[in-house]
C-alpha cells in the first residue's frame, strides 16, 4: 500500500508554520506498515490543488489531505476533491444540526460558510471531529482511499487516532517500521561512539542512530518487520545490546526526562533534597519541581546570585568567598553542606559557575562550573568546563548536577 500526504494551506508556503501534520501522520502510518512515498504542500489554490490531487490518485493507494476544511472562502479542499472525483456535494443533516446547536450555545450567528462544513461528497463517510467544527471525510473511489482531515494538529491527531487508524489497521501489508528512543547522559560523544560504533555502523535493520542534544544524546532504535510484534522483538534485542554497553549512562526512554528520572529515584528512596544554585539561576529547582508529587522530597531551593545572598541565606563565610572566590570548589562545597544542614535534607546539590556571556577571566573563563553533592557520607565536588550560550551553559550545568545525583541514588537506593 503506497500512501501520500498532501497538506493544503498558503501559510505553509509562506513559511509561517512547519508541516508538522505530515510528520505526525508519517510516523503513525509507518507504525501501521503503510509506506509513505510522498509529502506535498500546496497553497489555497483550487487549480494547483486539483493538479496535485490528480497526480496523487495516479500513483498512490491512500491519499491523505490535511487542511482547507474550514469555513472561510480560502478553504477549498472539500470542493476541489469532490470536483476531481466527480462527486456531488450533499448536506449532512446530522452535522448541520450539530453546528446549529453549537452556534446557538455560543450565541453566534451561523453563516452559509459555516454550513459548507456539513457538505459531504456523495458516498463519503463523515469522520467525527471531537475538537472542532469541521468533520473529516473518507472516500473510497476506484480502488483508492482518500481521507480529508482538518489542519489544526489537535483536531487532526484526535480524528486520526479515533476515526482513521482503526480503519487502516491490517490494511498495511507493507513492513511495519517502529522506533524507540533511549536517552543517554554524562558520556562524551566520542566515548559513546567508541562504545557502540559497531552497532551504529553494522546494522541495516534494526538501525541505531545517535542524535546529540545540548545536554544528552538520544539513541533512536528503528526496526522494520512484517508485523508489529516482530519489530518490537528486534527493538528489544538491540536495546539489550545497547544497555549492556552503556549501562547506567542510559537514564530513560521515550518521553522520560532526566529530572523526571531523578525525581522517581528520590521518591522511591524516600530522600529529602535541598538545592543551592548560583549560575543556573533556579533552573535546577524548576526542572525537579516539574514532577508531580515531588513536594514529598524537595524541601527548598536557594538561588543565591549575589555574594550577600550566599552569606546571609547559606552562611557561606565571607573569608572563604574572599580567599577562593564565589566560583570555586570551596564555595560549592560550603553551599552544599550548609544548605543540607540548614534544611535538614539528607541530600543537597550546589552549583556555582560563570554562565556568561560576561564575567569570565583568564583563570575563571565563561563555562567554568563547580557542582557539589552533599550526602550523609560527605560532600563530593566536580569541576566542569561547559561551552555554549548563557542558556546552554545553564542547561548543561543543571543536567550535570542532576546526573551526579542520579548516579548516587542508583548506588544508594535500597
Amino acid at each position: 500500500m503506497k500512501a501520500e500526504i498532501i497538506a493544503v494551506g498558503s501559510e505553509l508556503l509562506l513559511g509561517q508554520i512547519a508541516n508538522t501534520n505530515a510528520r505526525y501522520l508519517s510516523e503513525r502510518l509507518a507504525g501501521l506498515g503503510i509506506d509513505v512515498y510522498w509529502h506535498t504542500a500546496v497553497g489555497d489554490n483550487a487549480n494547483r490543488l486539483a493538479e496535485i490531487f490528480r497526480v496523487a490518485l495516479s500513483r498512490s493507494d491512500l491519499v491523505i489531505l490535511c487542511g482547507g476544511l474550514g469555513p472561510t472562502k480560502d478553504d477549498l479542499t472539500r470542493e476541489t476533491v469532490a470536483g476531481v472525483l466527480g462527486l456531488p456535494l450533499q448536506a449532512d443533516r446530522a452535522w448541520e444540526e450539530r453546528l446549529e446547536t453549537l452556534f446557538k450555545k455560543l450565541g453566534r450567528r451561523m453563516t452559509d460558510n459555516n454550513r459548507r462544513q456539513a457538505l459531504v461528497p456523495l458516498g463519503a463517510r463523515l469522520l467525527f471531529n471531537s475538537q472542532g467544527t469541521a468533520p473529516g471525510l473518507w472516500i473510497e473511489h476506484q480502488g483508492r482511499s482518500v481521507v480529508l482531515l482538518p489542519g489544526p494538529p489537535r483536531e487532526l491527531e484526535a480524528m486520526f487516532e479515533r476515526e482513521v487508524e482503526p480503519r487502516l489497521a491490517g490494511r498495511g501489508g507493507g513492513a511495519v517500521i517502529i522506533s524507540r528512543v533511549l536517552k543517554v547522559v554524562g558520556l562524551g560523544e566520542s566515548a559513546m561512539e567508541e562504545a557502540i560504533a559497531d552497532l551504529i555502523d553494522s546494522q541495516s535493520n534494526p538501525t541505531l542512530a545517535p542524535l546529540a542534544r545540548h545536554t544528552e544524546v538520544h539513541l533512536r532504535l528503528t526496526a522494520k518487520a512484517a508485523d508489529r510484534s516482530a519489530a518490537e522483538a528486534m527493538l528489544s534485542g538491540l536495546e539489550s545490546r545497547v544497555r549492556e554497553r552503556l549501562g547506567p549512562a542510559i537514564y530513560g526512554a521515550g518521553d522520560e526526562t532526566l529530572a523526571g528520572a531523578v525525581a522517581k529515584l528520590l521518591l522511591a528512596g524516600g530522600w529529602k533534597l535541598a538545592v543551592a544554585e548560583s549560575c543556573t539561576g533556579g533552573l535546577l529547582s524548576h526542572l525537579l519541581t516539574n514532577s508531580p508529587g515531588i513536594s514529598a522530597s524537595f524541601l527548598l531551593g536557594a538561588v543565591v546570585y549575589s555574594n550577600a545572598a550566599k552569606q546571609d541565606l547559606l552562611g557561606v563565610k565571607p573569608s572563604l568567598l574572599r580567599e577562593y572566590g564565589a566560583v570555586s570548589e570551596e564555595t560549592a562545597r560550603a553551599m552544599a553542606e550548609n544548605i543540607r544542614r540548614r534544611s535538614g535534607a539528607g541530600l543537597s546539590l550546589a552549583i556555582t559557575g560563570i554562565a556568561g556571556p560576561d564575567g569570565g577571566t583568564e583563570t575563571k573563563p565563561v563555562g567554568l562550573v563547580y557542582i557539589a553533592l552533599a550526602t550523609p557520607e560527605g560532600a563530593n565536588c566536580r569541576r566542569f568546563n561547559f561551552f555554549g550560550t548563557r542558556e546552554t551553559i545553564k542547561e548543561r550545568a543543571a543536567a550535570a548536577a542532576l546526573n551526579m545525583l542520579r548516579l548516587y541514588l542508583l548506588s544508594n537506593n535500597r
Copy 2:
C-alpha cells in the same frame, strides 16, 4: 518567478523529523518576493527523486533541493540531479583538498564516499559550507535555476544566507511578503479580540492574525507589497494602530521574551529584585536569570516548597500558615514582604499556589495561585485561577508575576 522546494530524506517520510527546512526557506523566499508554489518531500530513492525533479523543472523557475548531499550511499541528490540534467560530474580539486586537510586534522581516513562530496556537475557553481563537509551547488540550466543545499538546518541556513540569498536578491519580481510579530500578555483572549476584532476581520493586506500561546498571545502582522520598504511601511502603519488599541499589553516584538523585557526594565531603572516561589518551583528565577547582566539586579530567589522552608528561610509565621494556609493572600504577602526586607531589595515577588495534579481541595482547587508584589510603596496581591497541566500552571503563574512587575516598572521607572 515560481519557486519549488524539494526535501530529500527517508527520515521525513518515516516521520522522524519535520520538514523545517521548507519552512525556513519559504519564509526567506517570501521576503525576497519569490513565490513558493510547492513543497515536496521524497525518500532516498533515485527513481522517485528523478521523477519529482523532472516535474519541478517543468513548472518552476527556481528549484531548491535540500538533503542527500552527505557521504553515505543513501545520499543521492547530487548524482540524480546531474543525471536528469545530463551533466557529467567532475571532482572539484579545491574542495577535495579542503576535505583532505580536514580529515588529516581529525586523524580520520578519508574514504571514496567522502570524496564524492567534492563532485560537481559540469558548469555548476560550488556553494561554500561553513558548517560541514558537503558543499552546495548552483546550476543554471535552460532558464531554470537549480540549487542544492545540505540537509542539516545549521548548514543549510548558513549557506542560504551567505551564498544563495545575495544571488537571488532583485530576482524576485513577485510581491514581497514579510511578517512582524507583536507579543501581548495579561489580556484575556476575548478582551483582546474585542479590542482589535475589526483590524483582524477587515484587513486583507496587511493581515493581522492572533496566535494564542499558553501564557501570551502573538499577533502576526503580514504585508504584501511591490518591494520590501513598501511592505515595511504597511507593517508599521498597522503596528501603530494595534499599539494604540492594546497599549502596554504589548510587551515586545519578534524574539523578545517577557522575562527579557522585564529584565531590561529592571536594569534601566537600577532596581534590585528578590523573589520567593512556592508552586512555580524556581521557574520565575530561571526565566529572569536567562538575561545577560541580570546579576546587577537579581539578588536572590528562594524556592520555599515546604512549610518549614517558608518559616526558616523567609520567616513566615507558623500561626499565619496555620490560620490561612500556605496558599493564601496572607502567606503570599508575608513571603514578598519578608524576602524584600531580608534581601535589602527594592522590589520583590512572591508566588504561592497549587500546581497539581494533586493537592487541590474544593475551596483551594488546582490552579489557584496568589502572587504578591512588594515595592517601596507597599505590597499588592492578586489571586488567579489558572487551568492546564502542572507545567502549564507553573508557566502561567510565572508569566503573571512577571507581568505584574512589568506594569509596575512601566509606571515607576524614571
